[in-house]
Symmetry: C2
Subunit: 568 residues, 2 copies
């Protein structure tokens, strides 16, 4: 796994290069962000020829370690203008590792009108014409790719949304069953892929591949401890039984469930969206309420949601989508949410960004809150790239500005996910100060405090969460193992040391995370971002959230010093 | 003229206040920018309640000094996010001065759905309901206002574009004949006025008003010299005979006439747009090729352009519109340009921003270059606020991003005017470094060098031009007096000293301009702008302009130091 594959689309050249020594200890987000920072001019046009798209593996890709095969996708985001890492589960990094790659760098751009496919096999990597797939949705494309290249290939693809260069576009990755269902959702990186003229990356299986840990005993010891801790921790049980849908009731309880474009934090129909309804629907219809997106994952937070006839509708339905396309749109019906979700996955759209965007469109009066069929019609416009569809595909900020809406929930142009920052202030700090723009996965604070409305401790809580979540992204380990492992970083360090052969301890992992955040923030500063951009929109500071009676009142100067202790 | 009128639309309160001592020496742009910097939080939402809109007079408003009654309109721009001063000719500042006001501050916002009119008369100022004018274009509104308040009132109005909160919206001012034809065009300040719920400002005449110069002899001396210099200078003759249309041939000669969305710098049909055709059309049809927008102006650069039946079509047609709605759209027909111009004036749109936007829309394939009727249809969509219309009304950057266009000519979100920065590099430096975003009036370099392609001297040339043009904006004197007066700032200083009573010399005027630029750039920095925003788009740096064989190759670090000698 000590190579990188460089694909130059301008010249159609492909090179296998040994991973430079300076990257030897880096993986996942640490590696993707360093590559972008080192190779992409910070001020470049994200949809211009100087941007690059990188795919990197975590340390454990290709091993059998549970929940530890996230694929990091990095680039400069056309949505936010910041550096971006958007990781997903599935099988891409496992297959990349099998071919000996820790990173794949896509650079340059194919000549206008050209659409290509990158096929990585044991014979090497090659670019193939992909015109036949133009305009195809991710779901049909997945079937075509599996039929052509084999059932067990991994792939990363873009749907029409990426081809149309939408800011809200997302890259779909194959899951353990070959579905195009694991999504690098945030930041519009599919548009970067689309602009470069790359429709799909397909990676063959390498049979019999077994990675060789450098220090086998240490590795086995770390692996065993890790597996046991994850297996026995109560958080795993919740993820396995109800997935992320448990969060609906939790957020309703906090008064932090975005409702009708963030007008409220409690939704009167929340029971219809709750974990109980969710599991009941899935179970009664013969779906799967607990599904592994990565082979061998024992957390199994994913699910397969069937329609009323028992046909698979979409996999998975996650809390973010339930929140942003359910309560945030005033839609109290999981089936409608699942249908919206399916369309987004097929077109290759970020359900969070589209949920925020549709909420803003409803606020503008384009359709009434609660109008699920209307929302589906709007997504149809997005898929057909009508003017309205293009506008919505450009994301919440552009949609809201164009339609004259003041209440646009976003930070750095990225729509806010399904946690109200006025109710969960530390998460609001994450939205503001993360190098990624408004993103909950950048430092999810729900389990980092019990006092979510406390503005005084919000910065400290967010800092701890951001470092921890960045750390997991750098490992390539799923953030759904954070609750289980956050106090046992020594075990993760042991596994890294055993597998890779270099010494790292728990503190070293934290330093790695901090260093990654420093690299990312430095990139953003060089791109023109300042503390003035590390803010929620004015209305979230001034407007009282009815469910809690609070505004976002965290001291901005304290936010500006969030990483000052680390010197950046 | 030592008062300010403060209108609080949130509470419906109006107050006449003496101008604070700290503003005693300020007028025009110096005053508008200081007021905005002092009273508006730099990071506020431009369309939120904390932004303000100010109208200020130059020193000479109300006197008979020629070409010296520009009205400065200031605020935080919804188009660029920067501080903005957008001045216009016409009669507003003359009338404000007659009532004793040097500044009018509009703050707060009327409750949603309310539309108001501010009427300033000798009985005082009052807010009147303006629902009857909702949706009305500037042309019809002007007639209604004159019929209701008197033929000699001055007014500033917004058309539908301002009501719809378009970034490309513009404020129309009454000209000397009561037309709504002098435009505070750039930066979308009409949207600020629209968001505040103010449709129009109407100011009665004060009969028999004669300002009293503090030092009458000095004033008379300055006035006499100024008038003589302007009157006899050859530049005045050109402005009077052909107006700004002379610039078509000049720019064609430089290879700097934007053609087909900046794809080229020479237009094969430029003769159809030239001053000769322009004057011929006007003269043959009984229009007026030389018209004063401000009473008593002897430069008379304005014009009244008739249609083929001799009916007044629009006043004036200016070079910027000819360039951006003519050659930039591939339209080689002045009548079509004039029709587009009329629609923009009536809707209350910036012809430059709309020219850039339509060019980008043509680049996106919405209609072919050269399709004038198609362009008129698109403006009709803008007027009807269809989704496409709203998108175009949001300006070139949002339109281009939404339609997937890379070649968007803009700086800080403001569309570039009709001078190619690759052919006129010093003007490119002005676009980059002006606090106003891409704006030629911020430092027009055409007469400041003969070597427009010389990148080495471009920063120095732009600096001199920016200081000079800012100086004229601070005086409230038309920039079309710059060629005549730039070497006789002592005369202008004499006139200011004589009228106002405080001592200022030529050097003092330059310091005032520099101080104004410092205030503006400080505001922008506090709003989150950095040197990374002081750049042309990547493609203008990389793509060779066919007409000249040049790119924009000015050293960015030199641009960053443009005002370093002045300590900012």
């Amino acid at each position: 796994m000590n190579n990188l594959l460089r694909v130059d689309l301008t010249h159609g050249q492909i090179a296998r290069e040994p991973l430079p020594e300076r990257y030897a200890r880096l993986a996942g987000r640490a590696l993707s962000s360093r590559l972008i920072a080192d190779e992409v001019p910070a001020t470049c046009d994200p949809l211009g020829p100087h941007n690059k798209l990188v795919f990197t593996c975590g340390y454990f890709a290709g091993t059998s370690l549970t929940s530890a095969m996230r694929t990091s996708v990095g680039g400069k985001s056309p949505l936010t203008g910041t550096i971006k890492e958007s990781n997903a589960g599935g099988t891409v990094s496992m297959r990349l590792a099998q071919h000996g790659y820790r990173a794949l760098i896509i650079e340059g751009e194919a000549s206008p009108g050209t659409l290509l496919l990158l096929h990585i096999s044991q014979e090497g990597a090659r670019l193939l014409p992909a015109d036949e797939y133009r305009g195809l949705g991710n779901l049909a494309l997945a079937e075509r790719l599996r039929a052509r290249f084999g059932e067990r290939v991994a792939f990363a693809t873009i749907g029409p949304a990426g081809e149309y260069l939408y800011n809200a576009s997302a890259i779909a990755h194959s899951d353990a069953d070959g579905r195009a269902s694991r999504i690098s959702a945030r930041g519009g990186l599919a548009a970067v892929m689309g602009r470069k003229g790359l429709k799909a990356i397909v990676i063959d299986e390498v049979k019999g591949f077994v990675p060789k840990p450098v220090r086998a005993d240490l590795w086995r010891q770390g692996q065993r401890s890790y597996t046991e801790i994850v297996h026995t921790h109560p958080a795993t049980k919740i993820y396995r039984e109800v997935g992320t849908s448990a969060m609906v009731r939790v957020m309703q309880g906090h008064g932090g469930l975005p409702t009708r474009n963030y007008r409220d934090g409690r939704f009167e129909l929340f029971e219809n969206l709750s974990a109980e309804t969710f599991v009941k629907n899935i179970t009664e219809r013969g779906g799967n309420p607990t599904h592994a997106c990565m082979p061998g994952c024992i957390i199994r937070c994913s699910n397969v949601y069937p329609d009323q006839n028992g046909q698979e509708l979409v996999s998975p339905v996650e809390f973010e989508t339930i929140g942003m396309m359910g309560s945030n749109l005033g839609i109290g019906d999981l089936d409608t949410v699942a249908r919206l979700n399916r369309v987004c996955n097929d077109l290759g759209l970020d359900t969070i960004e589209m949920g925020v965007t549709l909420g803003v469109a409803m606020e503008a009066g384009l359709l009434p809150f609660g109008d699920g069929e209307g929302a589906l019609r709007l997504l149809d416009e997005v898929g057909r790239a009508t003017i309205l569809g293009r506008l919505l595909g450009a994301g919440a900020l552009i949609t809201g500005k164009t339609l004259g809406v003041r209440r646009i929930p976003h930070v750095k142009g990225q729509g806010l996910p399904a946690y109200e920052p006025r109710a969960l202030k530390a998460l609001g700090v994450t939205y503001c100060t993360s190098p990624m723009g408004g993103d909950h996965t950048a430092g999810h604070t729900v389990r980092f405090t019990n006092d979510h409305r406390n503005a005084a401790e919000a910065v400290e809580v967010s800092r701890r969460a951001q470092v921890m979540f960045t750390l997991f992204d750098c490992l390539g380990v799923c953030i759904f193992a954070v609750p289980q492992m956050r106090d046992r970083l020594d075990v993760l360090a042991q596994a890294v040391s055993g597998l890779m052969g270099f010494d790292i301890d728990a503190d070293g992992l934290q330093q790695l995370a901090l260093e990654t955040l420093r690299v990312e923030r430095t990139f953003n500063r060089a791109a023109g971002f300042t503390k003035e951009h590390d803010r929620l929109p004015e209305w979230l500071v001034n407007e009282v959230l009815p469910s809690t009676g609070t505004t976002f009142d965290v001291n901005p100067e304290e936010m500006d010093r969030i990483f000052a202790h680390a010197g950046f």
